[in-house]
Subunit: 423 residues, 2 copies
């Protein structure tokens, strides 16, 4: 029931890791079920609900592949490794032959056999010196590989992006990050037979040595040692990826799209889909993120864009921290975000969708393959009897159980932007 | 619970464009919700219901691709352009290398630069002289292309079919129909690099000139001009397609199938699936179509066929005309059709399914990607608690949410005709 002569617009709110499992300390409820969510309840009552298998039933999505699917892309067809999306999110303009990695500043101990044992994968997580440490290793010269440039950018906390630029590189190589505390930093493995993969893996091992040489010698780490803090004396690399070649949302649907997010990865996936990135002061991707500012920025962007992707990270972080009580609080913060957003938008012209990129189960502390709830409210949407935005209520909703890739055509259908197939 | 020794049969009733969205002037109801439908309610109560994403969630189906999917074919794999199905529906036997177009008799004005501006894409829609105009251009000789035959057949109102037959033709070419009033008739664009596509596009442009030369000179149009009617001085072409190569339903399921429909396109898709076409006097594909005659013809055909496809067009037409009140009336006409049909069939031996080929939303005036309701009643069907055949009621039905392609195996399963996979 959109007003005549107007083209509806869409706001997609992605609450990261929003889905969960029943939790004993919440009396068998999920955080969504335990939280007080008057706005989400109202939207569920007025709109249509369902469940999304973001990748496929039972498959835990990554943050990057999950978002690619929510934006309508086939992640199995176009995924090129997390590093590329992190790099794009950090504002780097990738060249087609670049190889990009997600990096973690980490604390390691060098053993007698010259390997490195991981003491803390995040060097304490909060890392005020990260920018200075990044400056120390950005542009470092690789012995015997003068033509390869090493670009390092800090993103948030202990997180950075490392890009290799030069001739004969391959992104088909393994991580150096062993992913566990007490594990040994890995030698990068070539994942294809091409000589370029062997050469790149070998370069990456040299890089591991150079990171340790430069970082362990800096006075910054001497000061951290004296202060009793873990040294940031290594960068662990993972998710090697090349530039993703996907058509923009504008090319596919003829829409102007924008992204409001704090985290680099989410901005990166959005940028790869051709979205404009709207920087919002106070959008930190942490518990303290300013949801009022984000909601207002999204509402404002509707004046110039047809589709706004609004990302909320804190629900995921609480679940990674295995903290159900905090996840409940973050769900209530999400509810507040939606109340601010809904107060700003013209309900006759704007379709609002709320979902997640994956379930992050507090009991597991990681992504799981359980589906996430989906809610769509707006002109033309067929409502259903569901009155709460929870995993179990939405399982009976009128949208049914869909794949993540179906969401974008579904939303664009409400904008009359999904092309007809046939005649 | 089919009687022993009898093989159940199926009637599939496709109500074109039956799905809709909540409509303000119907107090937020859809036409199906607003209509009085005692027979459909009874069938929903006795049978099982669900929703069909005819192509895929959010994707608006064409009339041709929608029916291909309902008949069990993968439209992405076998669709060859609307023209081929229109030609088959008009009773033409296509040769493998033919290129067929859907044509519209239209009113154009020749501009100083020799291009043509569209005044009326349908030359008034009702066109009593269509057969005579068709005779004038059927078999016309193309300058410099003596080996290419031009075949024209009139179907209904302003609609016709144009087939090119000859050497080195390609169906990978664009429309001449610009689809908007006031637009300039298009030059056909080759859509592939092959020389045959360039040659065919060029032939089509010659055809546009010849259509105007022959039609603008005929006394029929002089008379229309004098009577204040729009001249039918052009044929706009769209949907170039070659002969669809799909196996017949008999080859796949071993059934004899038949079609009861008014419109040429629906007969064409049915013919391509190997159905016998039953011509029913009074089946006009318009609001005035004789549903009693169609229902009786379908019931009679059950004596000789296992599967009857019964098409009802008027629900779609009302929605294209953005007339919700008329769509409600047409839903009630559909309900009457079903009451006549059900009075004729042996409920112990016949499975009846009702669905649509796509949603046509009255507010939009065109096909949309919203799913359509599905109802199946008959021996062996597991009933569900749903008591109405509406979009929102069927969303909670026992058949769940399926793809259009799933319908045929589902129906054939009730006939024990879907081949077992495995042993």
């Amino acid at each position: 029931m959109a007003a005549a002569g107007t083209m509806p617009k869409v706001v997609l709110v992605v609450a990261d890791g929003i889905g969960d499992r029943p939790i004993r300390t919440l009396n068998g409820k999920t955080p969504l079920e335990a939280a007080r969510t008057p706005t989400l309840d109202r939207l569920a009552t007025e709109g249509a609900t369902g469940l999304l298998h973001v990748i496929a039933p039972g498959v835990p999505p990554g943050s990057d592949t999950g978002h690619l699917a929510l934006f309508g892309y086939d992640p199995y067809g176009c995924y090129t490794g997390r590093g590329a999306f992190e790099a794009l999110g950090a504002g780097l303009v990738l060249e087609p032959a670049d190889v990009a990695f997600r990096g973690n500043f980490a604390t390691v101990q060098q053993l007698k056999d010259k390997t490195f044992k991981v003491i803390d994968r995040r060097a304490g997580r909060s890392l005020p010196e990260a920018a200075a440490l990044t400056a120390l290793i950005d542009g470092l010269a690789l012995p015997r590989a003068a033509k390869v440039k090493v670009i390092v950018r800090h993103t948030t906390e202990h997180r950075c992006v490392v890009v290799l630029r030069g001739p004969n590189l391959s992104a088909r190589i393994g991580d150096t990050d062993p992913h566990g505390h007490g594990d040994i930093v890995l030698k990068s493995k070539p994942l294809e037979k091409a000589a370029s993969a062997r050469q790149t893996a070998s370069l990456v091992d040299t890089l591991t040595q150079e990171f340790y040489r430069l970082l362990s010698a800096t006075p910054i780490n001497a000061k951290r040692r004296q202060a009793g803090l873990p040294e940031a004396n290594m960068v662990l690399l993972r998710g090697a990826g090349g530039h993703p070649a996907i058509p923009s949302l504008e090319a596919i649907y003829g829409i102007r799209s924008a992204c409001v997010a704090g985290g680099a990865l989410y901005k990166g996936v959005a940028r790869s889909a051709g979205m404009d990135i709207i920087d919002v002061p106070g959008a930190t991707a942490s518990y303290d993120t300013d949801v009022d500012a984000k909601a207002l920025a999204a509402a404002t962007a509707l004046a110039t864009h047809d589709y706004i992707f609004l990302h909320f990270k804190a629900t995921d972080t609480a679940a990674h921290d295995k903290d159900p009580t905090r996840k409940v609080a973050m769900v209530e913060k999400l509810d507040h975000l939606l109340s601010v957003l809904m107060a700003q938008v013209n309900r006759d012209q704007v379709c609002v969708a709320v979902t997640g990129d994956h379930t992050t189960a507090c009991d597991v502390g990681n992504h799981t393959g359980d589906p996430v709830p989906l809610l769509i409210v707006g002109p033309g949407v067929r409502s259903d009897p569901v009155v709460r935005f929870t995993e179990r209520a939405c399982a009976g909703g009128g949208l049914g159980h869909l794949r993540g890739r179906d969401l974008m055509p579904l939303l664009m259908n409400f904008l009359d932007r999904t092309p007809m197939f046939g005649a």
